[in-house]
Symmetry: C2
């Protein structure tokens, strides 16, 4: 439809592509990981030290094997999700070291928090996938925390889950644990991706050893990877968003090429949450409108390459689930969902430029996910759904409340929110004049009380627990 | 671009149109106003009692003279605005009897509040037009309140203002006062519309005497009118949104036809804030996603008729400027702006399903208006704006902060918000852990202190004051 948001022309996208190709061919991308360099060399790429140079033909070859859509299989097959094309998933916040308390103060997050978020995802009507590192738990050793998190992700929730890209070994652990659930590595390979992992470039123009190593392991096991660039315009990338798009495209295509060399057909996602520097503080702003401009362009560039796309969802710079948090989150999430992003990370809970998770914000954001799905559901426009006969029957000045059709359809035509306030002022006042974040506090208790652990083969659970114990010892 | 929000097909829009034509021809529209009935009769329309019947040919004839775009001239010509096509304006909240206090309690609004909102509009970077009845002042007599409000609107702000559709006489007063400003009725007619007034139908299928009478007066004086339908699906209209679209189209086209009979070429706007009934309370919900679905369809139907469009902006059912208010407001406002609405009413301040205005929400919503304008500003994508040379110069692992281009462009590339928080948690904590609505309290005082009354010819101001005094006596 007519849209005041910029539609990139084929010519403009080609300019971004050409610039990315130029950068890949002349400046190249540094991979701080030996196996990556070996793979590139083995495939005839020019490698100088840690820098890999790409020709357009090699990139196009990699693009030709990357799928445009894939399914992530859940251990409860009814909860499997599709990523690509018209299909999109909401995935919770990621990477927060802190929990925001209702006072606005923060405390370090723990494994209990991680488990709680697994339970919220399990009981969610709108969050489609379980996350990874939804918080960074402070009460377990950092080098084995990924084992605890993957264990919780699998045991406490039967939706698909995000994988562990913390290191080559961490990625291997994730694959091994998935293999336990699916009955061995062969069966896991046959089922296709059961995880999606987040591989970030190190802008400008690099991949760290952890990220490159994880990408190799995960692609090898046919697990899906988001390859994402998180450029801060004016700091780790050009000040112009056009320059940012070229730079991120170069980085993403380099990662994508590595994945396809490892395993042609490995599912990869064109990802970005590049954003702008705040001019007042010099820090990253992810609540700014430039983020949503990049989200829209990212969705369009991904389609240009016929790839699934990833962006952030409910992103904000605010430190409290207040009106600012909601403005910024709603803007980014709805832009992502409308414009065609397939994998919407940080769809719920994240606060303060990624620094913390808020239980209350999780519940509010989740409402927005539901509202957004409703917003995007097409209405039927047929003589039957218009029903001029009924309008004529009701006539001038009549009322529709008692029409049989109103009774019949009101529960399916109208979206029911969970706890958004629809009371009049008197009712709201009588209920204690609570802000929605205060309502969310009550709701949290109810949600966690309602949680039931999904069924799992006790042998599988024991084998997973055993794997974690052994790996911690070894 | 690809958009997951529904794009109505030509066939679907034709179905809505055909249903509206059917309703206009068979059930007709009641006009509770004698002059309206006389005008229809004089022009050969079938009129039965108060019910007027429309043929498609007569409606199409009216559509052929209605402009697709018009300019509303301000008394400060630099602040004139265009309504139609790619141009859109943000207009403040309308019709609120109450003011929401920072406690969430409400008090009755006064003329002082009205004046304060005039001052906020005058000092706004993002609100393009002054409103009318931004609050319903309780401390002046109701039958002459429109005179006080129009006087304040003109004197305290030099942006274009909304007109008074409170009654036939009220509309005439508005035109007379505008004529004082523009140097007489002939000069006013020559300058074109200087006001936009809100004419609401009385759903289903009626126009009240006040609204029909105002429409006649305003169209006669070549002042612009929004003709809007505010159907509550399931109560004052069909439960299906498709049915709502047909019903609202019939009502709007009936009003439009009257305006064009009075004055062919009179500027009219296809308007709607039809929404759904809340299933839990049975009341109107304007915070629900159905509202935004209707907003999108309204923009599309207006373009189908080649007319400017109107919807609500920052609409919410919440009674406090909290996260719920921001979610709902941001969703409706950005949908309106993206999808092509031209006249975005209630863009700032409104709370609680139209029941009150909040100063704090006004300032927060205004930020969203600014953010939305930035969001929709296209980026230049050229070799110059991409600048691969700079990216190559910075190279692998370099930084862009000290690049001359970063200094040069950072103030124009990045949107500067007014008071959205971009501090880190430590800074925010040191500042007292304020929610954005608490920051807005501080901001309000600064804004009102900054206000300066715009210059006006003392003779004009005296003549306006005299007009108001005379009309109050008479």
């Amino acid at each position: 439809m007519y849209d005041r948001m910029q539609t990139l022309t084929q010519e403009e996208m080609t300019r971004i592509h050409d610039a990315a190709m130029d950068l890949l061919g002349t400046t190249g991308i540094a991979f701080n990981e030996d196996e990556a360099l070996t793979i590139f060399k083995k495939n005839g790429f020019k490698v100088d030290g840690k820098t890999v140079y790409f020709t357009e033909a090699r990139v196009r070859n990699a693009l030709s094997t990357a799928p445009s859509r894939f399914t992530v299989t859940a251990r409860n097959p009814e909860k499997s999700v599709a990523v690509g094309g018209d299909d999109y998933v909401f995935v919770p916040g990621y990477g927060a070291p802190f929990i925001t308390l209702t006072s606005g103060l923060q405390r370090e997050s723990t494994m209990d928090d991680y488990d709680n978020f697994c339970k919220l995802v399990q009981t969610s009507r709108h969050i489609n996938m379980n996350g990874f590192m939804m918080v960074e738990p402070s009460d377990v050793p950092a080098d084995t925390a990924h084992l605890d998190m993957i264990f919780s992700s699998i045991i406490l929730c039967d939706k698909p889950f995000m994988g562990s890209p913390v290191s080559k070994q961490g990625a291997r652990d994730c694959v091994d644990m998935a293999a336990v659930v699916w009955g061995g590595m062969d069966k896991l390979r046959a089922v296709g991706p059961v995880t999606v992992s987040l591989i970030n470039s190190l802008s400008p123009l690099q991949f760290s050893d952890e990220m490159a190593g994880s990408l190799i392991e995960l692609a090898r096991a046919n697990q899906a990877c988001v390859i994402a660039s998180l450029i801060m315009a004016g700091s780790s990338g050009p000040v112009t968003l056009a320059g940012v798009l070229a730079l991120q495209t170069a980085e993403i295509l380099a990662g994508l090429t590595l994945a396809q060399l490892v395993n042609p057909g490995a599912p990869v996602v064109y990802g970005s949450t590049s954003s702008a520097m705040d001019m007042k503080t010099g820090g990253l702003s992810i609540g700014c409108p430039e983020l949503s401009v990049v989200v829209s362009a990212t969705a369009q560039m991904a389609r240009f390459y016929n790839l699934p796309s990833r962006s952030g969802g409910s992103l904000t710079d605010a430190h409290f689930p207040d009106a600012q948090a909601a403005v910024e989150s709603t803007l980014a999430l709805t832009t992502a969902a409308r414009n065609g992003i397939n994998f919407i990370l940080h769809a719920a809970g994240i606060l303060g430029s990624y620094i913390s998770m808020s239980y209350e914000k999780f519940l509010i954001d989740e409402e927005v996910c539901g509202i957004t799905r409703r917003l995007l559901k097409p209405m039927e426009i047929t003589p039957g759904s218009i029903d001029t006969d009924m309008i004529k029957t009701v006539g001038i000045g009549g009322q529709y409340l008692t029409q049989p059709k109103t009774f019949q359809l009101c529960r399916t035509e109208f979206h029911l929110t969970d706890f958004m306030n629809r009371q009049n002022h008197a009712g709201w006042k009588a209920g204690g004049r609570k802000r929605i974040d205060e309502f969310a506090v009550d709701r949290l208790g109810q949600r966690l009380a309602r949680y039931e652990k999904p069924g799992i083969d006790p042998g599988v659970e024991a084998a997973l627990a055993d794997f974690v114990t052994r790996r911690k010892k070894g």
